[in-house]
Amino acid sequence: MTENRDKDVVADCLEELKSHLGEAASEAAPTLDGIFTIEVQPSAIIESLNFLRDHLEGDFDMLTDLTAVDWMNYPETGERFEVVYLLCSTKSNHRVRVKCRLGETGPRVASATAVFKGAEWLEREVWDLFGIRFDGHPDLRRIMLWEDFEGHPLRKDFPTRGYNPVERTPET
């Protein structure tokens, strides 16, 4: 029973968010793992995060993770890149997932650091590995790879050995 009530709380939250955003949000529905997921327009991402953090009963006050998906091989699903925000409520332990889609050329979205300070390194990681830029990020540098590395390795079109592979010793 409790579980059902919890689900209702999250569903209500997202319903409110959807009516707040209007056209910019999709229907919210739980995915296979049971976490409610809502897709919003990139332009509405900051507003969504702010809304979920401050205005709703769930009070999603923690950004658990921020990551991205490259859907290059599935063009029928929409734009190529998808940025995923995982939020958690430290009070009720509710979780929610917010997503937005970005186009192939020069993907960029507003930085979530304005809402969650902890997004800083997560966004640097997404920039490093997917090449998605975050507008308004205080220090958008590579975080794992070295500075003059070429390319973004988690993109599906990145060659496994990189763009400048080291020469291999020929077989003798």
Binding site: M144, L145, F158, G162, V166
Partner: protein, 159 residues
């Protein structure tokens, strides 16, 4: 029997090379460069069951200046290469290097943009240990190979 008879008991003659190499071979000071599972096997080789002390190489030192044997145990990625090179350069001569395991020897299973395909691309390697990871016995044999190499050194000129 030779010149010892002239001086009486308490004297022996030998060559300086032999004495110095005898000292070096039984007192190798390894610096561990353990970055992956090979590091665990390296620790096992040092512990009681395998006991690297039997070869005089149990005194691990974490300062490169105090060491003469570098054991690179684990995957080395490109971002780490300047560090590895620098630590190697900081070791004083004479010095030896063991590339322990497939990763350190040739990149191992990681044929990727991030991983150095063998440490011999940046530092000279004396002994390669195959295995993923190698068992401690394999490392013991590598140390014995290093000892054989030490025996061929001369104090005058390192070859």
């Amino acid at each position: 029997m030779g010149i010892e008879t002239v001086f009486g008991p308490g004297f022996i003659t030998t060559t300086l090379d032999k004495v110095v190499n005898w000292g070096r071979r039984w007192s190798l000071y390894p610096i561990p460069y353990g970055t992956a599972c090979c590091g665990i096997e390296l620790m096992a080789a040092l512990a009681s069951r395998f006991d690297l002390a039997r070869y005089g190489a149990e005194a691990i030192r974490f300062s490169p200046r105090q060491c003469d044997l570098m054991i690179v145990a684990g995957t080395i990625n490109h971002k780490m290469t300047p560090v590895l090179k620098r630590i190697y350069d900081q070791m004083s001569e004479p010095k030896w290097v063991i590339a322990m395991g497939a990763c350190a020897s040739a990149g191992g299973p990681f044929d990727s943009y991030a991983v150095l395909q063998g440490i011999d691309r940046i530092i000279p390697v004396d002994v390669y240990v195959p295995g993923c990871p190698p068992r401690p016995e394999a490392l013991l044999q590598a140390v014995m190979k290093i000892q054989e190499k030490v025996d061929k050194e001369t104090v005058l000129d390192r070859k």
